[in-house]
């Protein structure tokens, strides 16, 4: 079987296992290329439907147009769309762009804390009402016990140590050394109360695989990844103040595929444009242990 086809089938299998095994399941959607591919795979797995909510953590510092892209696709594909945020940190302006904290702390507040409290239902969730097109405070605050996340093993070191079904403890923490084995397409689907399981359908995909698949399937993708004429494009999307574009004249998906095949970026980390990774050495590993994606 062709490699992309095999990756697709394996991911669909994982998504279906997750859907059957977790009552309170959601998928994190960052609007980026990986989680958009994952969303497409979910539509394939469930024959055109997405039978679980999509959760977006809105830092309100995202590159503009990301929320617009999100809401348009949510309407077009009839998605059960939810967003969460750290209201307190935002209203107290306790953020890096406001100059009141470090990049890493800002990530901690606006992403990790917001994610944790949105997943466990302690902070309000905002759900799209498809009749009005507006977001309303969600009545349900039941914790999500299965969370589908679009991380890839080749993105950076810690992610390569992940399992497909990876447990997080009651504090949202990840114990790398004590992971259960995973074989024969059997996954960890039993878990203690209060804990949850992260599900990683894209673990085996590479950056090139993702773009080749977007090209083949013609998946709608936000334009920020393409050069708009200034010779720059984003390779990884995040908050505007902490995300830098790369030099590239790739104007569409096939340009990107060609660019990646030349090996232009083979010695530059995909997330090199993400400033928070660089702080404190191993910043991301610490963030991830604490629950960051």
């Amino acid at each position: 079987m062709e490699h992309l086809k095999k990756l697709e089938n394996d991911s669909i299998h994982i998504l279906r296992e997750a859907y059957s095994e977790f009552k309170n399941l959601c998928m994190l959607w960052s609007i980026g290329k990986d989680s958009t591919v994952m969303l497409w795979l979910a539509r394939k797995a469930f024959f055109g439907h997405v039978p679980f909510p999509l959760v977006h953590i809105d830092t309100h510092f995202k590159i503009p147009k990301m929320a617009e892209f999100r809401d348009n696709l949510a309407r077009d594909w009839n998605l059960d769309m939810i967003y969460g945020e750290n209201k307190k940190a935002l209203s107290e302006r306790n953020t890096f762009p406001d100059g009141n904290t470090s990049r890493l702390k800002c990530c901690q507040y606006l992403k990790t804390d917001a994610l944790k409290n949105t997943l466990n239902g302690k902070w309000p969730r905002y759900r799209m009402n498809h009749e009005t097109g507006k977001y309303e405070i969600d009545k349900s605050n039941e914790p999500f016990t299965g969370v589908i996340v679009g991380v890839r093993a080749d993105e950076e070191g810690t992610r390569s140590k992940e399992r497909c079904f990876s447990p997080r403890d009651i504090n949202n923490e990840w114990d790398i050394s004590e992971q259960p084995p995973e074989f024969w397409n059997q996954y960890k689907t039993d878990f203690a109360p209060g804990t949850h399981v992260r599900i990683h359908p894209l673990l085996d995909w590479t950056e090139l695989n993702i773009w080749e698949y977007i090209l083949r399937e013609n998946i709608p993708i936000i334009f920020l990844y393409f050069d708009q004429g200034a010779g720059k494009r984003y390779r990884s999307l995040g908050c505007a103040p902490c995300t830098m574009p790369v030099n590239s004249t790739a104007k569409n998906v096939s340009d990107i595929v060609e660019e990646l095949k030349t090996g232009k970026f083979s010695n530059i980390a995909e997330r090199s444009g993400r400033e928070q990774d660089k702080e404190d050495g191993g910043g991301l590993e610490e963030l991830r242990k604490g629950g960051y994606m």
């Binding site: 079987m1 070191g157 399992r163 074989f183």
Partner: protein, 609 residues
Amino acid sequence: MKENMSVTVVGHVDHGKSTIIGRLLADTGSLPEGKLERVKQNCRKNAKPFEYAFLLDALKDEQQQGITIDSARCFFKTRKRKYIIIDSPGHIEFVKNMVTGASRAQAALLVIDAYEGIKENSRRHGYLLSMLGIKQICILVNKMDLVSYRKKAYEDIVREYKEFLSSIDLTSNCYIPVSGAAGDNIVSSSCRTKWYKGPTVLEALDLFDGEAPLKDKAFRMPVQGVYKFTKDGDSRRIIAGTILTGKISAGDEVFFYPSGKKSKVKSIEEFGRKNVTSASAGHAAGFTLTEQIYVKRGEIAAVKDKPRVSTRIKAGIFWLGKKPMETNKRYLLKLGTAKSGMFIERIDKIMDTSQLTYKKKKRIDRHDAAECIIKTEKALAFDISRDISDTGRFVIVDGYDICGGGIIKEALEEVPENIVWNEGKISYEERCRQLRQKGIVVWFTGLSGAGKSTIAAELEAELFGRGKIVYRLDGDNVRYFLNSDLSFSKSHRNENIRRLAEIAALFKDAGIITLVSAISPYREMRDFARRKVGKKEFVEVYVKASLKTCEKRDTKGLYKKARNGEIKDFTGISAPYEEPDKAEIVINTEKIEAGEAVDMILEYLRYDI
């Protein structure tokens, strides 16, 4: 596009796995540009001899920074295909990771140090590979430079390891004398081992078979779910799952096990594609059926060749849990998408990988491999591992985690094919037609001594005399055997009636005229019986007599005992009787004889019987 193959490299710690991987990457030109030179330079700077294993460490370091490839998944190419190397740490504590990595591989390189010889993990890893179903194994007798490339050193290891492999029903025809450090026989043939005529490591890899021809095997698809998204205006009812082996096409007759239900494939479904007519091994597929039978997650879909169904299996298992595996403890078994509680019934033997012997133990410790008999709570559908490995293996969950795996060697005491309620081939109507009668249940209720059993026995004799197939289920009789465990408390009375109703429903289904006589004092349970049997086939007969009359009759002397307090919970005296409010027939035995009562019932039933 080139074919991909995943290869795992295993072996005892320090036997040279990383060196060999480093060599393969370097000598096939698969390292990032300048990498080899930089690592060599670094070594010169730090005044330490260069080793190929450093390449891997260097890759790991870079990976920490997010640059280049994932060290746990290195790539190199030959003319034939692209290889993905899954690195498996050799340290004993990492067996979990080794199993996780190796289970995804299609082939394995097992490294043995020629100088140090076969060690515990050389054997353990070999055993685990065989359990994991990796049949293409190439043994690399490494560090030949340390034994002066002596043929005998190589042959000793080959002989000893061959013997071990045959003891676990495994063979490998591929034993290569190599030196990772010196580069012998890795990518090119070495002149220092002229006595060796076999392939190099690279050649051996290219000789491995690619994807196993799973399409040619019998069709197997564990059902992951049955999807119906009616809320979104989609009326399809799709059976979804990943096809493990074989192929399915629209129009195929498809069976589901363990239930044994069958239907026909109406359409193969795929998002965004129309007119798909078949799907084969490896596909995350979906199909609809012509007949809407009730199928659920956990069953295995099959075409033609059927899987086995049983609750007892003989299995080879390996255990990775911290806590040892015990007999008489309940675990969860997961096979395909099925789950069942399980117990180890008996441990036959446990293999001691450090001493290459089998030993008798009462429990299975961490990293042990054992042969045992497993009893499952639910009937499982499966195949014997050597026939179809994908449906011949399972994992064992202890608490919340997967702690072991097993392969099925034999099905013991197979459960008959149609164990679960199924439509079968013969319907109730057909049975009735053949018996020339209608299977019904006549349910007599009333106080003790009201005359239920007397009338039922009369009716039975009368119907039998007319050539009917009839059977009487008497409450007292059933309490003698089937319900001997029940008292007369309300909950036990209810259980008594529940069982009676269940049996009566089965008898009725067989086409038999079934007469039940039981006090059945609670309305709720009589209604349960009515529902169970089916309204149309259920006739409630209230055999009525006042308490005073019954007590006066006292044919069994029970009222007297109850009055004296010798019997507790006696209906009418110390327990309630709820009069029927919807009985089809009411017979007042204070006014009519048993014979008249029989006539009344026959008259009512005439049409039905």
